[in-house]
């Protein structure tokens, strides 16, 4: 394995820059943690190319800008930071994230926001399979994932809380989501722009009409998403979305006999 020495460049404004090209992930992440402990509130990582676990387990209010493609489990178990990726991301973005924000100005892979409990993940492009699985909310913590493009199968599977939005930009008439949307869902809300055929839906979800609260929420999220990702959402209006929710909070309540 290649382990290159890294020396962060620091400027007056509290921003540190690391040239990450060829730096082993463990070294890179140690550097990031050390800079946060030194009080830097913005860290720029240039030349990132597949390093895993960036932002993993960090509790901080810092901002991390990634130029390049970060590896799997970006922001896993993260608690507070904002990560901005000026490229695509891979699998496991925001795995079991507690709070903070991840902005990906490109596509992301599978299992985005698995078990996520708070914070926001904005992906400007497409997302892979199993996105938003078992998201859950707790008190004021309501996790949000917005994906600008299309999603693969099992979107929102087992979802227990939170908000998943799929805008479907560039879908060119293809289905915006895959099969088994919301299978096992027992909490939270899915918003999908366009049609989702009944055959794509899990047994536990139903299509509901948008109310004023939904429209206001979607309006706010679209504005924030567009500002953060720079995605072209012109002409996208809340009225274009359908709302999917579970019809039972206890889908398995009658499955057992004692």
């Amino acid at each position: 394995m290649m382990i290159a020495e890294t020396e962060a460049k620091r400027d007056e404004a509290g921003t540190a820059t690391i040239e990450a090209d060829g730096v082993y992930y463990r070294v890179l992440n140690e550097r990031v943690r050390a800079l946060l402990e030194d009080g830097y509130d913005e860290i720029v990582l240039n030349g990132v190319n597949g390093q895993r676990y960036i932002g993993d387990g960090l509790s901080s209010a810092a901002r991390i800008v990634i130029n390049g493609v970060p590896g799997n489990d970006l922001g896993a178990f993260m608690n507070g930071p904002t990560i901005e990726v000026n490229d695509n991301a891979q699998d496991g973005v925001g795995n079991t994230m507690n709070s903070g924000k991840i902005i990906v100005k490109g596509h992301a892979g599978d299992v985005v926001g698995y078990g996520m409990r708070g914070g926001k993940i904005f992906i400007s492009g497409d997302v892979g399979y199993r996105v938003g699985i078992h998201m859950k909310s707790y008190k004021e913590q309501v996790p949000v994932i917005v994906a600008g493009g299309r999603a693969g199968d099992f979107f929102g599977e087992y979802m227990a809380g939170g908000i998943l939005v799929l805008i479907g930009l560039g879908s060119d008439g293809q289905p915006v989501a895959g099969s088994y949307v919301g299978t096992g869902m027992h909490g939270g809300t899915l918003y999908v722009r366009g049609e989702v055929d009944d055959s794509q839906l899990g047994e536990e979800v139903r299509v509901f009409d948008l109310d004023d609260g939904d429209r206001a929420l979607l309006g706010r999220l679209l504005t924030e998403f567009t500002a953060d990702t720079g995605a072209d959402t012109e002409g996208v209006v809340p009225e274009d979305f359908i709302k999917l929710q579970p019809y039972s909070h206890r889908p398995y309540g009658n499955m057992y006999v004692y």
Binding site: R26, N29, R52, Y53, D56, G57, L58, S59, N72, D73, A76, F77, M78, N79, D91, G92, N95, T96, N98, V111, Y114, G115, R117, R130, I133, H134, K136, S137, Y138, Q141, E157, Y158, A160, G161, G184, H186, G187, H249, R250, P251, Y252, G253, N254, M255, Y256, V257, Y258
Partner: protein
């Protein structure tokens, strides 16, 4: 007989001559068996034989007996099977149950005998000589290198991974707060600290009040990720990825909304009253490579603490364990099919998985044959009932054992198998405040400490008889075991000779 055609399993009898009408039984029964109308009455159909009323009746006026109702004998159609069919014909659901399997499967521990020294090598008196039970869990280096620092002094040059120090090779198994009460968790944490061992949170998070016991806690990260956040991950000496559980291999868990009160809700970080559903798999683990990814994600989040991976013992356990070791785990926790649970479909509890005795033997042998046994520590759990089982499990290749059911029995559990109802009269598997209060954590901890200290004495006694002075000398030492009444193939798989050889 109730409408579902099921006769009562037990008969509760109150001796009205002895009964002083103090109504303690009414207060004590979590299942609502007793009532008072001029005299104490009992609804036998609700009784689970947990003995709470019997123990607390000051006049010994209550007896609980098996319903003597005769069933036509039939070797094919056991009474248990007939009852299951009656229940299911009346309800359309899976039979739910608690604790470990109660079916009479062959128990291999009971067919293993331990060696002792006679004449040709001396046994050791543990009362006179020190006996070492200390156990270190975690990765051990492939080789140790030392470097000379001058003046004839040397220092260790090889890096050594963090290990967990246990004073005894016995730890408390994962039982989640939610399935068991906070007082149960408190008792386990206090006892773990006094014994110099660890308790395991199970998958329901760790109550804030127990954070001070960090040095004696392993926190669990299961598929539901309940209560998992950076502070929690760093609140113990290690993190355990729970892939499976011996009582219910391959399936997820459903903690019913009734058990999610304010405190459980806060610890699990989910709303009050919602079902806590744990998916069957971790949806970020579909392969050994994915497991490695989560192991290292947790190491990154915890400053490289040891990571344990808990699996249910299934048919290919040896190959799976090899993969787990190669994925970077420091500890593999093997849970045999007799392991307990707060709730499991009976069909899975009673028919899925393999025994811990077989699993520990084949995993130990597989890792040795690959030359990677030192990469991981092995914990054997799921059916460890006594100090004899502890000795046998370690001789078969375990580094330490986990006890769950035995710990609960020490605190009053009667194995009524109704944990999933949340009505536990002993205050163990319940969230009802009036029941939880019955288990005094200090009393529970004292019972646990007594139990484990008793077992430790017995383990030392056996080690002395074996003529060894450290548990380390027994680890994987199958030469000191013999089988009795096991078939040849099973003995061969265990790599243990029959008695007489």
């Amino acid at each position: 007989m109730s409408a579902n055609m099921l006769p009562s399993e037990f008969v509760v009898n109150v001796d009205h001559e002895r009964c002083r009408r103090c109504k303690r039984c009414i207060l004590n029964c979590g299942f609502g068996v007793f009532d008072f109308q001029n005299m104490t009455t009992a609804d036998s159909s609700k009784c689970v034989a947990c003995h709470r009323c019997v123990v607390f009746c000051p006049e010994e006026a209550i007896t609980v007996t098996q319903n003597p109702l005769a069933f036509r004998e039939n070797a094919s159609w056991s009474v248990g099977l007939r009852k299951q069919i009656w229940k299911q014909a009346g309800s359309s659901g899976m039979i739910l149950t608690g604790m470990g399997t109660d079916l009479p499967w062959l128990n291999i521990f009971d067919h293993l005998l331990i060696d002792a020294c006679q004449v040709t090598n001396p046994s050791i008196d543990p009362l006179r000589e020190p006996m070492e039970l200390r156990t270190y869990l975690g990765r051990k280096p492939d080789r140790l290198e030392v470097s000379e620092v001058g003046d004839g002094e040397f220092k260790l040059a090889s890096p050594v991974a963090d290990n967990i120090k246990l004073d005894i090779p016995i730890m408390f198994s994962g039982m989640s707060y939610g399935s068991v009460s906070l007082n149960t968790h408190r008792a386990l944490a206090i006892a773990a600290e006094r014994l110099g061992t660890v308790m395991n949170t199970g998958e329901g998070g760790l109550h804030k009040e127990l954070y001070p016991y960090a040095d004696h806690i392993i926190v669990q990260c299961a598929s539901g990720r309940f209560g998992v956040h950076p502070e929690y991950l760093n609140a113990g000496v290690a993190v355990e990825i729970k892939v499976g559980q011996g009582a219910k291999p391959g399936i997820g868990g459903h903690l019913p909304g009734e058990k999610i009160g304010q405190e459980v809700s806060g610890t699990r970080m989910i709303p009050v009253g919602t079902d806590a559903l744990s998916p069957a798999p971790h949806h970020d683990i579909y392969s050994i490579e994915d497991l490695r990814q989560l192991i290292y994600a947790l190491k990154e989040a915890t400053g490289y603490k040891p990571i344990s991976v808990k699996i249910a013992c299934v048919h290919n356990v040896a190959a799976i364990a090899s993969g787990i070791a190669r994925a970077g785990a420091d500890i593999i926790y093997l849970d045999g099919f007799r392991g307990g649970t707060g709730a499991s479909p009976a069909v899975v509890r009673d028919h899925v998985g393999i025994p811990i005795e077989i699993a520990i033997a084949v995993v130990d042998r597989q890792l040795r044959s690959e030359g990677i046994r030192n990469w991981v520590s092995l914990i054997a759990a799921g059916g460890v009932r006594s100090s004899a089982d502890v000795v046998k499990a370690i001789a078969l290749g375990a580094d330490a054992v986990g006890i769950g059911t035995a710990a609960l029995i020490a605190m009053g559990c009667r194995l009524c198998q109704k944990c999933y109802t949340g009505n536990c009269s002993w205050g163990i598997a319940t969230q009802r405040p009036e029941l939880v209060g019955r288990l005094d954590p200090e009393w529970g901890a004292e019972r646990l400490v007594n139990l484990v200290n008793s077992w430790s004495l017995e383990v030392k006694e056996v080690l002395g008889a074996l003529g060894v002075n450290a548990i380390e000398s027994l680890r994987g030492n199958r030469e000191r075991l013999r089988t009795l009444g096991l078939d040849e193939m099973t003995a061969d798989i265990l790599d243990v000779k029959p008695a007489g050889r």
